[in-house]
Amino acid sequence: MENTVVKIENLVKRYGELIALDHLSLEIKEGEIFGLLGPNGSGKTTTINCLLSLLAYDKGSIEIFGEKMSPVNYNVKQNIGIIMQNVAVFDELTVQENIDYFCGLYIHSKADRKQYVDEAIKFVGLEDFRKFYPKKLSGGLLRRLNIACGIAHKPKLIILDEPTVAVDPQSRNKILEGIQELNRQGTTVIYTTHYMEEVEQICTRIAIMDKGRKIAEGTKDELKRMIRNTETISIELLDLSDRVKDKFAALPHVCSCDYDGTKLIIGFSGGKHNLMRVTELLREEELHSGRIYSERPTLNDVFLEITGKALRDKED
C-alpha cells in the first residue's frame, strides 16, 4: 500500500468574513503528481501556504510524512522543495552560487552540496551557464534556474505553485518534462495551476478547487466520468432548418444540440459510433458541411458542469 505523504483534514482558513479554505481535506500518496486545479482565488496558494506553515489557519490539521506540520518542524521542511511562480534568485550571484545558496539552507556538508548542485545543474541543463549571472539568462533559462534552486537538495516532496505562468510553450514543455522526470525518480509532486492542459498532461490525480472548497477529486478519467457529456461533435454548417436540427437532437445518446448559425454542436452522453451516426444523417439530408470534429470532454467541461462557469477567463 502506498504511503500517505500529505494529509490535510478539514482545513479552514478565514480572512475576516471571507472563507479562503472551507473544510478542505486532501490525501496525497507517495509517488503521485497531484494537481491542484482551480481558477484564480480558488484557494490553491492559500492551501500551499498553510501546508508549508507560512500561514496560520483556523481549523483542521496538516500532516506531512506522517508528522504534524508546524513552522518548527525542520525534519519535515528538510524534505520539501518549493518552486514558485516568481523567479526567486539573487541577481548578485551566479547560477552555481544561487543553487549552492538555496541548497545550503538544507544541506550543510560542503562535499554533498557540491555534488547536489552539480546534479541539479545537469538536471535542468544549465551546465554551460554555471558562471552566468541571472540577468544574462533568458526567461526560459531563469525558470530552469528557479527549479534547480528548489530541487537541488533532493526533496521527497516538491511543491510547484503555478511555475509556468508567463512562460513560452517550449520552456513550459521542458518544465513539465522535468517534473515528470523527477516523479519517475520517486519524488512526490504537488502541482498547482489554472492551466487544465498541464494538469491533464502530467498529473496522476487531480483535485479541483473553487471558492476554497474541493469540488471534485480523482484521476482525469474519473473526473470526466463525473459529467453527463462524454463527447462533443461540432459541425460547420451554414444553413440548418429546425426540422433537420430536431433529427440530430433525436439521435441516440444526444444530451444537447445547439446551432448558432454557423456551427452545430451536439453533446453525447455515452454511446459508441456517435460520429458515424452524425455523418450518415448529414449524407441523408444532403447537407454540405465544413469541418467536422469530435472532442472528448476536458477538465474545463468538468469544472463548467460542476460550477456552471469556465475554469479560467478567456484572457488567461
Binding site: C50, L52, S53, L54, L55, A56, Y57, D58, K59, G60, K68, S70, P71, Y74, N75, K77, Q78, I80, I82, M84, N86, V87, A88, V89, F90, D91, E92, L93, E97, Y101, F102, G104, L105, Y106, C149, G150
Partner: protein
C-alpha cells in the same frame, strides 16, 4: 554560514558603490572640516590710492614713497569728475592731494592744511588713510620735538611705522588640556552625517536584497532556523558597519593630523555609539521595504536634516531655542553634544557625557524594538499556525 557568505557576496557586488559613497563623502567632508577652523591669517590689503603731490618737495616725495610701500599707487589726472567716477566704480579707494606748502607746515599744528582728498564717505579706506596720515605726521613732529632734524625724524617715523605687528588668534582650548583642535571637532561632527548616509546607502540595499519577498518566502520554507538566519544576517551587517566605521576612523587620523590620544578616544567611542544608532535606523528603514528612490530620499532627509537641525553644519549655539528643542528628539543632537564636551566647547562632565551616550543608545534600542515589531506584524504570521 550560508547566509553570511551570501551577504558578503552581495556586499562584494556593491562594494564599489559603497566605496564610491565613502569617497564622495570624504571629499566633501574633509575639506569642509578643515575649512571650518577658526584660525585665520591676517594680511594687509593694499588700497588703490592716487597721490597728487602739489608741494613736490623731498618731504612730500618721501611721504608718497611711504604710502606706496603698502598700497598701490594709481596714476590718474587730477580731474574732479574723473576721480569721482573712479571712486564710484571702485577703481580707486582714495585720492590724496599733498597740498602746496606741505614741507613748510609739516611741523606746525594740525593736518587739515597739509592734505586734501577725494574719498567715499564712511568707507574703511578713509579711516585707514586718516589714521595713517595722522600717525605719520604725529610721529614726525614727535621725533622733531625730541631734537632730531626733519630728515632724521621722517626716517625714524618710516622705520617705526613699518614695523608689522604679528597677530595670533588664540582659540579657547586649542590642542590644550581641555579641548581638541577645531579640525578634529569638525571632522567628528561631520562623521555623523557621513556614517548615517553611508550606512543607509550600503546596508539597506543589501538587507533589502536578502529579505526580498520571494527570497524570504523560499528561505521561510527551508529548514534553516529563523534565529540562525537572523544571526548570520546580523553578523554580515556588523562586519559591514564596523568596516565603514573603521575606514572613517582611520581616515580621521589623517584628516585631523595625528593618532588619537587622551580624550580623543572618547570621541571615537562616541562615533562608535552613533554608528550603532545609524545601523538601527537603517534596519528600521528596511522593515518598510522602501524602493531605491525612497531609500535615497530617506538618506538625504535623515543625513542632511539631522545635520542642519542638530548642529553639524551650524553650531548648536546659533540654533534657535525652538529648533534646539526639536533636535533633542534626534540622536545626532546628543552625538554633537558629546563631541562639544569632548572638544572643549562645553564644560566637560563625565557623568553628563555618559548620560548623553546612553541617550544615543536608547535611540538604538527604540529603533531596534520598532524594527522587530514591524517585522513581526508584517511577516510574523508563521508562528501563529494552529497546533
Amino acid at each position: 554560514m550560508q547566509v553570511f557568505k551570501v551577504f558578503m557576496k552581495v556586499l562584494k557586488s556593491r562594494m564599489s558603490a559603497a566605496f564610491l559613497y565613502i569617497l564622495i563623502f570624504m571629499i566633501i567632508a574633509i575639506p569642509q572640516a578643515k575649512s571650518s577652523t577658526t584660525e585665520k591669517k591676517f594680511e594687509r590689503v593694499p588700497l588703490k590710492i592716487a597721490v597728487f603731490d602739489e608741494d613736490n618737495t623731498p618731504e612730500s616725495r618721501k611721504l608718497t614713497e611711504f604710502i606706496a610701500k603698502d598700497n598701490k599707487l594709481i596714476s590718474m589726472s587730477n580731474d574732479r569728475e574723473e576721480l569721482i567716477d573712479a571712486l564710484y566704480w571702485m577703481r580707486l579707494d582714495y585720492a590724496l592731494i599733498i597740498n602746496k606748502g606741505y614741507s613748510e607746515n609739516l611741523l606746525s599744528d594740525g593736518t587739515n592744511e597739509l592734505f586734501g582728498s577725494y574719498h567715499v564717505h564712511d568707507s574703511y579706506s578713509v579711516s585707514y588713510m586718516s589714521t595713517a596720515l595722522d600717525q605719520y605726521v604725529s610721529s614726525v613732529r614727535a621725533y622733531s620735538q625730541s631734537g632730531e632734524d626733519l630728515d632724521s625724524a621722517i626716517a625714524h617715523t618710516e622705520d617705526a611705522l613699518s614695523q608689522d605687528t604679528e597677530v595670533h588668534v588664540a582659540e579657547a582650548g586649542k590642542n590644550g588640556v581641555n579641548g581638541q583642535s577645531s579640525t578634529f571637532r569638525a571632522y567628528f561632527n561631520y562623521f555623523s552625517y557621513i556614517i548615517i548616509s553611508v550606512i543607509i546607502y550600503t546596508v539597506c540595499p543589501i538587507i533589502l536584497t536578502m529579505t526580498r519577498k520571494d527570497i524570504r518566502y523560499r528561505t521561510n520554507c527551508s529548514s534553516i532556523h529563523p534565529n540562525a538566519y537572523t544571526i548570520q544576517l546580523f553578523a554580515g551587517s556588523t562586519v559591514l558597519v564596523l568596516g565603514v566605521w573603521l575606514i572613517l576612523i582611520v581616515a580621521g587620523i589623517f584628516a585631523t593630523g595625528g593618532f588619537y590620544s587622551g580624550k580623543q578616544w572618547l570621541a571615537v567611542l562616541n562615533s562608535f555609539i552613533y554608528t550603532l544608532v545609524s545601523t538601527s535606523i537603517a534596519l528600521l528603514i528596511t522593515s518598510f521595504d522602501p524602493s531605491e528612490n525612497i531609500l535615497n530620499l530617506t538618506a538625504q532627509i535623515l543625513g542632511l536634516g539631522m545635520s542642519f537641525l542638530c548642529g553639524v553644519f551650524v553650531p548648536l549655539s546659533m540654533l534657535s531655542d525652538s529648533v534646539a528643542s526639536v533636535s533633542k528628539f534626534l540622536p545626532a543632537y546628543w552625538y554633537i553634544r558629546c563631541n562639544s564636551m569632548i572638544c572643549g566647547n562645553e564644560i566637560y562632565d563625565s557623568g553628563r557625557l555618559a548620560s548623553f551616550m546612553l541617550i544615543q543608545m536608547l535611540f538604538a534600542v527604540v529603533c531596534s524594538v520598532l524594527t522587530m515589531l514591524i517585522r513581526r506584524i508584517k511577516f510574523g504570521t508563521s508562528s501563529e499556525v494552529a497546533a
